[in-house]
């Protein structure tokens, strides 16, 4: 299952009048079915806000978002979401967390025994796919951060959502775990066929995962540049050292620095260093 997303002139303003903060201004973007798009940018650029708006968790101040041509109004089962942390239910085992949506009316209408069986098979398959078989009966608090995120992804995939929204899902993980998760989520994208929108502040992660990168800029939050990732669909870790990868990484980092408005003041730094050296001499 897959779907397209149309973002038309979407804006988000928090507060009123002179105190208003423009979190996002006039965003336009079309995401194709089964595309893997990553949003990257300095903090305050509105990338999480835009993702949450697609998820229906944040209202739009202006514009419209449509999924397969149908305007959205609030959260829906066609758009699953993976959060950075604290989203698992601590009182449920891993298996019960994965099956959580089966407790909800939205997923159990017209339920036949064949449906139930299919769902049970689906849960088992996801638990295996995510490498969670040995911890299926453990509680989330007994798992590492990486394993917890595997559970969160499995739970989001349970209802075969055509769209998977991920809000810095690996932001709290260590570098090694993150690499493993990258290959896992690429694998999920290939076999599930869902459209994935992935928010990150890590440029390398954005390039390695995405087919297309949406670079956003702050003050006011906006879409700045779109980059097509010049890498084959099949990715492996060595590609992070390929010249094309590094060139794109340099270009994006450069652009983020230009747009973030935060620069290291080199002159000031040199003066501080000189002062420190002088003090040490005395």
């Amino acid at each position: 299952m897959t779907a397209s997303i149309d973002i038309r002139d979407v804006a988000k303003t928090f507060g009123h009048g002179a105190r208003a903060i423009h979190a996002l201004e006039g965003a336009n973007l079309t995401i194709r079915p089964n595309e893997f798009v990553t949003f990257v940018g300095a903090s305050g650029c509105g990338k999480s806000t835009l993702l949450r708006m697609i998820g229906g968790l944040e209202s739009l101040s202006r514009g419209s978002i449509a999924v397969n041509g149908q305007p959205i109004g609030g959260p829906g089962v066609d758009r699953a979401m993976v959060f950075q942390h604290y989203s698992l239910y601590p009182w449920l085992t891993v298996a019960d967390n994965v099956r959580f949506c089966r407790q909800l009316k939205a997923h159990t209408r017209d339920r036949t025994s064949a449906d139930v069986e299919k769902a049970a098979g689906r849960a088992d398959a996801l638990i295996r796919l995510m490498g969670l078989s040995h911890v299926a009966h453990a509680y989330p608090s007994q798992l590492s951060g990486g394993m917890q995120q595997r559970v969160a992804i499995a739970r989001a995939l349970m209802s075969r959502p055509p769209i998977l929204l991920m809000d810095e899902p690996f932001g709290a993980l260590d570098a090694q775990t993150r690499e493993v998760m990258h290959d896992l989520i690429r694998h999920v994208h290939r076999i599930e066929g869902s459209t994935i929108v992935f928010v990150t502040h890590d440029v390398e992660e954005a390039i390695y995962l995405g087919q297309r990168i949406v670079l956003m800029a702050p003050r006011p939050g906006r879409i700045d540049t779109l980059y097509d990732v010049p890498l084959p669909t099949e990715r492996h870790q060595d590609m992070k050292l390929a010249p094309a990868f590094l060139a794109l990484k340099r270009a994006i980092l450069e652009r983020i620095r230009e747009t973030s408005g935060m620069k290291t003041d080199l002159e000031q730094l040199a003066r501080l260093n000189a002062d420190a050296a002088a003090t040490a001499m005395e």
């Binding site: 959260p75 979401m81 959060f83 698992l88 909800l104 939205a106 509680y139 608090s141 969160a152």
Partner: protein
């Protein structure tokens, strides 16, 4: 130098902030904490010039509890007092649980009720006695009402706070899975808050007991609080001691039962530092 530092470090491990200590040390300290005041009490009561009316010894108090049980009706006093406290507390919980759930879940309900509750909870429960007598009468209902007034308003606010502590990500995850508002309350907010709610019920049960003596000021002729008040009138200091100790003991038993239920009901919290 470094060796002596390390030795000092390990020697001071009891005083390392939040560090775990071994269970045997824990129980020894807990026992010491309970026995030490008893020893001090025993010693003080044997000092010369200390009148038994001023400070009865542990033996006097035990004798009094014994005669209270054999000649007087200790069991009935314990039973009626326990009933009053539990009834007032349970009534309070029955209303505070749903109300706190709504205050904690909906900002509109919070705006409507929280400032009011905050205002009322500062009013002294004792001062309500004349009003309670006027409105509820002097039957059993009035004692229950005083305990209710003493616990309810605090309880609502604590329950609302417990409910607000559910991480937003857990609520939003359910929303993106298509959960309705009712399903979010039933399948996310309530199950998450359960351990904290049980703790709140435990703590407020303790407060309910502290209002017992106040409640039994109202036209009572039985109960532990009433017995303490009557003993005060006849200067039976040993009976005052006995009554206070018994209330403390019942409180301790109830508290420990709550803790036991907590451990058994929420196995997923095991091993997590609270």
């Amino acid at each position: 130098m470094s060796a002596s530092k390390r030795a000092r470090g390990s020697g001071g491990s009891l005083w390392q902030i939040r560090a775990a200590i071994d269970p045997r040390q824990y129980w020894l300290l807990a026992l010491a904490g309970l026995v030490a005041p008893l020893v001090v009490w025993l010693a003080a009561s044997h000092l010369d010039g200390i009148d038994k009316v001023f400070l009865p010894g542990p033996a006097d108090v035990l004798t009094r509890i014994w005669s209270w049980a054999s000649d007087d009706d200790l069991t009935a006093d314990v039973a009626i007092s326990t009933w009053r406290v539990v009834a007032g507390w349970a009534l309070s919980a029955a209303i505070a649980l749903p109300l706190g759930l709504f205050i904690g879940s909906y900002r509109a309900v919070q705006a409507l009720l929280e400032p009011l509750t905050d205002f009322i909870r500062y009013m002294p429960a004792v001062a309500f006695i004349p009003l309670v007598m006027l409105w509820v009468g002097i039957e059993e209902g009035s004692k229950v009402a005083i305990i209710f007034i003493g616990t309810f308003f605090q309880m609502v606010l604590m329950i609302a706070e417990d409910v607000r502590r559910v991480p937003l990500a857990q609520i939003e995850a359910a929303q993106t899975m298509g959960a309705t508002r009712g399903e979010i309350l039933e399948k996310v907010i309530v199950p998450f808050a359960k351990p904290a709610l049980l703790d709140t019920l435990r703590v407020t049960m303790g407060w309910a007991w502290t209002y017992l003596v106040v409640a039994e000021l109202v036209a009572a002729n039985s109960g532990l609080g009433y017995a303490v008040l009557k003993a005060q009138r006849f200067l039976q200091t040993d009976k005052i001691f006995a009554g206070i100790l018994l209330i403390g003991l019942i409180g301790l038993l109830i508290d420990q039962s709550f803790r036991l239920i907590h451990r058994k009901a929420f196995p997923y919290l095991a091993g997590r530092q609270r």
